[in-house]
């Protein structure tokens, strides 16, 4: 089709081809074709309502696309349900905190670890006998700086700590693809670095594919290898950070002032 031909046995980790979804005639994501390579961090930016979260939902499967396809390492996964995509290595943290409120913080993380373990469906063994899962959960608990809240219910955490837990759960899945949706939104200034450190840590592993929706320009500058700009569901710019950030169209789209006609002419 329209995308560049793949060199033999090289596939992008994630590829979307002509991905679109409409809600009652309104195209929230419109014909988005993008490839995301191993070991890269792509920042996805755009004004509120641009379709960033919706694009994530199409990749991780919470939404079914109206048209277009999603590929993981060259394998089409468009029809896969959410759980299967997660098992294939697509991990997702949510913009709106999405936890198990009446389970403990440790349990929230442990469940993520368990999901990827062979013993995940064991029903006659005690959960506490699976020490390996607990040790691993505690590791991520510490990374997120939440060890003192291990036994507290997730619902009792402050907003900032819930955001950290959200990220810790994603980390605990140890996926191949990490999708962070505004991970630092609403956090206090002193809490932000711990989340950024977690993202940097993933990035430094070198073989992960990271998609990051983020509004803070300094964060994007320090982390992103590439920026994709969405506006009204369409990709309006895509390239390395310096070029993209310098372009007028992006400044306007990013600041939410882009008008449909301007975007249209810029294409």
């Amino acid at each position: 089709m329209d995308s560049a031909p793949n060199i033999a046995d090289h596939y992008p980790v994630i590829e979307t081809k002509g991905l679109s979804v409409s809600f009652g005639g309104h195209l929230a994501v419109s014909d988005v074709s993008c490839c995301f390579e191993e070991g890269t961090l792509t920042a996805i930016v755009g004004p509120n309502g641009a379709g960033k979260t919706t694009y994530f939902n199409l990749i991780s499967g919470q939404l079914k696309s109206t048209s277009g396809q999603v590929f993981l390492n060259g394998e089409e996964i468009t029809q896969y349900p959410v759980a299967r995509r997660a098992q294939c290595g697509i991990g997702r943290a949510f913009q709106l905190t999405n936890l198990f409120p009446e389970l403990s913080v440790q349990e929230n993380i442990r469940l993520a670890v368990q999901s990827m373990a062979k013993t995940r469906d064991s029903f006659l063994t005690l959960w506490s006998s699976h020490k390996d899962l607990i040790v691993k959960a505690d590791h991520f608990l510490e990374l997120a700086g939440l060890e003192q809240y291990a036994k507290a219910n997730a619902s009792t955490l402050s907003h900032g700590n819930q955001r950290k837990l959200e990220v810790a759960i994603l980390m605990a899945l140890e996926p191949r693809v990490y999708m962070f949706d505004e991970p630092t939104a609403g956090m206090s200034v002193d809490e932000v670095p711990i989340v950024l450190d977690l993202i940097k840590r993933v990035k430094s592993e070198g073989n992960k594919t990271i998609l990051l929706v983020e509004h803070k320009l300094d964060v994007i500058r320090s982390l992103a290898d590439r920026i994709v700009v969405l506006n009204n569901g369409e990709v309006v710019a895509d390239g390395d950070p310096t070029t993209v950030m310098a372009s007028d169209i992006v400044r306007e789209a990013y600041l939410g002032r882009a008008r449909q006609d301007r975007v249209g002419t810029a294409k």
Partner: protein
């Protein structure tokens, strides 16, 4: 040792623990210490309700699923056993075949209902289970040549389980130890083991996923858990457990009929017990069943005892009348739900946790 038997899920409240120990000792001692069919029937009913309500709680309290078909599985177990005993005669093979056929049927229906309805909303699943349970009750009534219709079936059980099978004659303890005593202890043992099994299931990795599904189905899915499969599996487990409870009930009563198994009333009793005891706490099934069965058995008697003393007082004598015991049970229910929405066990556990916090 005890902790691992209880799957590390201890009562976590002294009052609950104490009540449980008391109840267990009373159950074990009753046939010899008190004797008589009445007290044994009360305890057997509690034990069977523990399995029936506990397995229902696996769905409602642990997974967050509302099923109205639970007593249908209870009925299938009872009818399977009863019909086999009636048609094949009082043999162990009949019990085994009847029960296994019932368990298989329960399993199949649970899978079918689950796959058919669980992709959609909880309420749709609830409606389907209600419809299926209703249809089943109608079928049982229609096939009265096999099921006995409204009247139900009376059947024989193996001699070893009957009162005529004397083990220790009456003159030793003052109460007879016979086949009935044997079935009593056998039922208690089986129910006890099944309770421990359920405790294990909810505290296993699988059980934790059920709670995750209850808490946040979409997130569980996003973590990579197949929610539909977990729901179908837990409905099958619950269905088969209810089926065992039904078979035990049939063996104890030597009778099976719609009122004691399939009737919506039984389903309401189960709901009542799970709510009184505390959803999502298996111990709640024991406490709830205890409270309910004792109330059902003795409330009527207690009111009958008081009634003559106040026969002269207007209004009050109308309200406190033996025929009104269901009304009082209803009041008890409303009051307990209002003051302890988390159930007796939930409430006592929270209280114990608060006390522990204060001490710290």
């Amino acid at each position: 040792m005890i902790s691992s038997l209880l799957s590390e899920d201890l009562p976590r409240s002294r009052i609950v623990a104490f009540t449980l120990i008391l109840l267990l000792m009373a159950m074990l001692a009753a046939p010899v210490a008190i004797g008589g069919l009445t007290i044994m029937s009360v305890f057997v009913k509690i034990a069977i309700f523990v399995v029936l309500v506990g397995s229902f709680d696996l769905l409602l309290g642990y997974t967050g699923m509302i099923s109205f078909a639970h007593t249908m599985y209870f009925g299938i177990g009872a009818y399977g056993t009863g019909i086999a005993l009636k048609s094949m005669g009082a043999s162990w093979e009949a019990i085994a075949i009847g029960f296994l056929a019932g368990a298989f049927l329960s399993f199949v229906i649970a899978v079918a209902v689950g796959l058919f309805s669980m992709r959609t909303k909880t309420i749709f699943f609830a409606m389907i289970t209600l419809a299926v349970a209703n249809a089943f009750a109608v079928l049982v009534n229609q096939f009265y040549t096999i099921t006995g219709g409204h009247d139900g079936l009376i059947f024989q059980i193996p001699r070893v389980l009957k009162p005529a099978f004397v083990i220790i004659p009456r003159d030793v303890f003052g109460v007879p130890i016979n086949g009935t005593t044997l079935s009593y202890y056998a039922i208690l043992l089986i129910c006890g083991l099944l309770f421990l099994l359920m405790l294990r299931i909810v505290n296993s990795p699988f059980g934790r996923v059920l709670q995750a599904i209850r808490e946040n189905e979409l997130r569980a899915e996003a973590l990579g858990f197949n929610v539909l499969r977990h729901r179908v599996v837990v409905s099958c487990i619950a269905a088969v457990l209810a089926c065992v409870a039904g078979a035990l009930n049939a063996l104890w009563l030597r009778f099976v009929g719609p009122e004691v198994t399939l009737d919506l009333q039984v389903m309401l009793d189960v709901l009542l017990i799970v709510v009184i005891g505390g959803m999502g706490t298996l111990y709640g099934a024991i406490i709830g069943a205890g409270v309910f069965v004792f109330a059902e058995t003795y409330l009527q008697g207690a009111i009958a005892y008081i009634a003559p003393m106040i026969a002269e007082v207007p209004v009050v004598s109308v309200v406190i009348h033996p025929d009104r015991w269901v009304f009082w049970l209803g009041i008890l229910f409303v009051v307990s739900v209002y003051y302890f929405p988390e159930g007796i066990v939930g409430r006592l556990r929270n209280r114990a946790a608060e006390l522990a916090n204060i001490k710290k």
